[in-house]
Structure formats: C-alpha cells, structure tokens
C-alpha cells in the first residue's frame, strides 16, 4: 500500500504533497524516508509519462513538487537514492550545440529512476566523453543534440570512443530534435530515443535492471 505522499505526488497534487511532507517532517520522521516516498511517487509519474498518460508539463510540474518536498525535508535529492543506484550514465549535449532542455529532462528522469548520472553539460567535446568513460566506467552514454550539426558531432563522438578502445565497454544512445534511425546509423550509436522515458528504458535494459 503506497503512502499518501507517494499517491499525492503520482497524482500531481502539489498542495497535498507539501502538506503531507510538512506533517511528516514535523512528526520527526527520518527525512530520507520521506524523500524515498517522493521518489517512489516520481517513478509512478515516469511510468505514466511512458504510457502517455502524462506529458512534459506534468513531468516538469512533478519535478517542482519533488523539489518542494526535498526542500521541506532539508535533504538534497541525490542523497535519497544513493543506496539503490542502478548504474552509471554519462549524458551530454554534443559539440557545437548548446541546447539543454531535452537533455536536462533525460538527466532528471534517469536520476529519479535510480541512475547515477554524470551530466557533462552542453557543447561537450568528444574527448570529454572519452575521459569521463575512463574515469567512471559508466556502461551507458547518452548523446543529446537538437541541431542538425549535432549528427556530425554524434558520429565524431562515437568514433572518438571507438578510437580510445572503449566502444565495446559502453552502450551509446542518441536523442533530441530530429534524431531518428537514420541518424543513429550515421552516428553508429546503439539506439535512439524520442523522449526521456525511452532513455530510462534503454538504460535499464543495458544495465540489466527491470
């Protein structure tokens, strides 16, 4: 039986969620537990997004509710799920492209879904991805790009990862803007996705999580 907070967040009831969180903080409950419930609520939001019950505005709103709860609990969001990380992902917008809205939503959904996400930001040179793979041993890399020039950067980034001898160690997904199967083939990536939950699904598949 999910707690009332889980349900309130899953149903996007902001006032109710904040009231419940406040009451639980006031009652002296472990803030970590409150945030874990909030995360469980977010996971339901993610599922509803994946099955097209929810859309981007709902996801953004849920993120704001979650932020409110984490502020009340006075605990950073990332701390709440450190104990159950599914795996590591490296995400960034490729060289020459500074768009980050889509990338940020992917990072957020991977994070609330339990991944340890290394967000390299925007306009990320290929060698930065290579360095980060070496440093973290992350098995999943996500290349984001909105502009048409990003297709070339994606291809160059995948090539750089291959040249560094790391291609067999990572699965690479591409996404954003006009990215489709043609672009995936061109970039020699493993998969492409059209939204944030596709990224979560692909990543979960690759790290062997359900």
């Amino acid at each position: 039986m999910p707690s009332a907070l889980v349900t309130a967040i899953a149903d996007l009831q902001e006032d109710e969620a904040l009231r419940l969180a406040k009451d639980r903080v006031a009652a002296g409950e472990d803030p970590l537990k409150i945030l874990q419930d909030a995360r469980s609520g977010m996971e339901i939001v993610g599922q509803r997004f994946a099955d097209a019950t929810y859309f981007l505005p709902d996801l953004v709103y849920a993120g704001e509710i979650l932020k409110g709860v984490s502020e009340l609990a006075k605990i950073p969001l990332a701390k709440a799920a450190q104990d159950k990380r599914l795996g590591k992902c490296i995400i960034g917008t490729v060289a020459g492209d500074i768009h980050d809205i889509g990338k940020n939503i992917v990072v957020f959904m991977l994070d609330v879904s339990g991944f340890e996400v290394y967000d390299l930001g925007v306009d990320v040179p290929a060698e930065k991805f290579v360095e980060k793979i070496r440093e973290t041993n992350a098995p999943v890399v996500g290349l984001s790009g909105f502009l048409t020039l990003a297709f070339e950067s994606m291809r160059e980034t995948v090539q750089a990862i291959s040249d560094a001898g790391l291609r067999s160690k990572v699965k690479i997904m591409v996404g954003g803007g006009q990215v489709d199967e043609t672009v995936r083939q061109y970039a020699k990536a493993d998969a492409y996705g059209t939204d944030a939950m596709a990224a979560v699904k692909l990543s979960k598949g690759w790290v062997g999580a359900k």
Partner: protein, 430 residues
Amino acid sequence: MKTRTAYDLKQLDQGKSPEQLYEERERRVRDAIHLKEPDRVPVLLATNYFPVTHVGGITNATSYYDWAAWREANKKTVLDYAPDLFAPSGGTPGPALGVLAPALYKWPGDGLGPNAMHQYIEGEPLKAEEYDAFLNDPGDWTLRCYLPRVWGALKPLAQLPPLQSLWGANALANQAAPFAAPDVVQAFEALFAAGRETEKCRLANAGFDAEMASLGFPPLSHSNAAAPFDVVSDHLRGMAGTMLDMYRRPDRLLQACELILSRSVATGVVALKSPLGNPKRVGSALHRGSDGFMSLKQFETFYWPTLKELILAMTDRGMVHIPFYEGDWAQRLGHLLELPRGKTIARFALTDLARAKAVLGGHTCIMGGVPHALLQTASPPEVEEFCLNLMKTVGKGGGFILSTHTGITEEAKPANVKAMVDSVKKYGWY
C-alpha cells in the same frame, strides 16, 4: 504519376518568360491548396544556412555581417535549384545584435564560431508573479522589465519612470530626470547605434521577394503570425514556466494568450499589402503545441483555441494560412479538420504523412515529407526514391507540396537537395 526523362527536365522551362513561370508556379501551388491535381507536385525549397554550402566561400556569419553577399547567395541558390516556392533565411543585423548584447541569443560570428548555427537560450523574462503587471500594461512591462532583462545594453532602462506616470500635461517634465542618468543615456546611445546598423541591413534585404518574383519564383509566405501560446512560451515565460502555469495560474496564461492574439493577427494581415501572392499566404512556425509537449487536453485548453482563432482570422480575410506543425502532430490531426477546407497548408515536420493524408486528404493540403537527416546522410538515388514514394502515397490525387522537415542547413549535401527538387520534375506529373 508520370515520369519525364532527363532530357525533358532540361527543356522544361525553356522558352517561358519569368512572368509565365511565376504564374505557372503560383497556379501549381494554388491547385494544391485547393486540393486539386496540379500539373505536377510542387516543391518548396526552405533554406536556413544551406546557401553557405551551395555557393561556397562564405560562412554562416555572412548572413549576419555581409548582407549583400548573403542576398546573392540566397538568390543563386533559388535560381540554381528552381523550386516552385522558396523560403530563405534573411540577413540579420549582427552589428546591431553586438551593440545591444542579447542575453538569450547566440549567433555565428559572435560567441559562436563563424560556421556555427544561431541558438536560443531558454529564459524566463516574465516572472510568474509579474503576470498582472504584464496584463495590465504590456507596454510598460516591456520597456522597464523585458528589454532590460533580454538586452545587456538596455539594463538601465529599468530606471525609467512607469509609463502611466507620464500622463498629465506637465508629467513628463517632472519625471524626466532618469533620462539624464549617464547609464540611461548610454542605453539610448546603444539604441541609436543599433538602429543605424539595422537600417543598413533592412536596405540590403529590401525587395528580395519582389526581385525573386520578377525572376519567376514566388515566396512561400507574405507575412508571419505567431501562435499566441508560443509567444508566451518562447519569449516570455519560458518552456518550464509556461508548463507550470498550466497548473498554478492557468487563467493568467490564457489571458496572456488572448492579449497576444490580436497582436499576432496584426502581423499576419500585413500580407494583404503585399503585391505578390495569389492567394496571399501567412506563415506560422508552431513550436510548443505538438504531441510531446503537452497532452491533448492541455492542447485543447491552452494551445488550440487562440491558434485556431488566429488561423480563422487569416482565412476569413481571404488569405491562406500555413501553420508549420513542428514536431509530431499525429494526435492532433483531427483538430485540423475544424479549419476551413482548402484554405490552409498543413506544413509538417515529424508527423507521419501517410497518417496525415488519411485524416486530411480532401480537406487540407499537406506540405513536407523529407527528413533533413536524409539530405545529410543519404545518396542522391536514395533521396530520389524516397521522394518518389512520398509522391505516390501522399501526393495521390493532389493536395501535396513536397518539402523538407525543416529549413535546409549547411550540412545538407547539394546533390541531395538537387535530387529532392528534381524528383518532382522527373516523377511528379499528374
């Protein structure tokens, strides 16, 4: 659909005057809009920075700094490919941008390399708690809040007195002191300097459509009218801000859309003054109402009502509206049937056109079909085959104009662009 040989292709336009070709192209497009079979499928050449690649020797920054060269490049591109409609990306006053220092825009040649693409930075110039100030007096809010936030050089304008405080026979004299503040003076000087630069750019761009028309080529549209919701999301509240407004202040969001509607209508009706176009055509690039951006219910509540009203305001005046349904509109296709039959062109990006044809066939002319990635990565025969398939399916019975998903950028291969445009001339005859 009938095929012409390569020999015929060369002969196609020979012996015809530019006037004849212009009328031929306008008629071809008009027939498609009216859901008839034209002589053949018309093709739109919508370009972004593609002339850079086609012409060579210039960069993306040329469009910001050397408008004469940019104009020539656009002209050569249209002449060389000879499409039925063209939609170029015009010269932009880079020096004026440089003087005014935009906070939410980067462009090739400043901050970005000369071959980069211009990019928008998401912002939230209208804060959630400022809706009332904006709705009560959008002019005052624009002058004292929007401009100082969006233009680095105009920050000092925040010190100006509220506009309504200038009502009164001697009010301005009493309120004039801020105009003499040294940084406010600087801001106005930046405006003077920017104005001079923008005027040079305007003169260099002036009359391009008329010039191309005199050479036989009609432009896609004669004015633009933005969807009210997009204006709020793109320019005022930002994407996240607008999405939160749907939950936290839906009434304010709708009021802002209503306020913008009449202003969008005003930019659209400018087409009526154009000497070109039969019919006059109004373009709208739609950004944030597609399937992924909001649910159908949110679309019906926040996006569609003012967009529909805008489109009807154009079609009621005898103009053809060309909403560019960017993204995927598969879930919303049924709504397009609420628009008058044969009076709009549904220009699509990622929507599956076979599905669009199934819903809109016999009701609305469809434009689009060619993914930009194909022009970047495929070979000319592959492009040709792809276009042929489109013509056979979406073009069946008329009401179809071939074009790319988006304005063609400098990454497209010229041979592929040629294969796309020529495909209609080879295979697109009814």
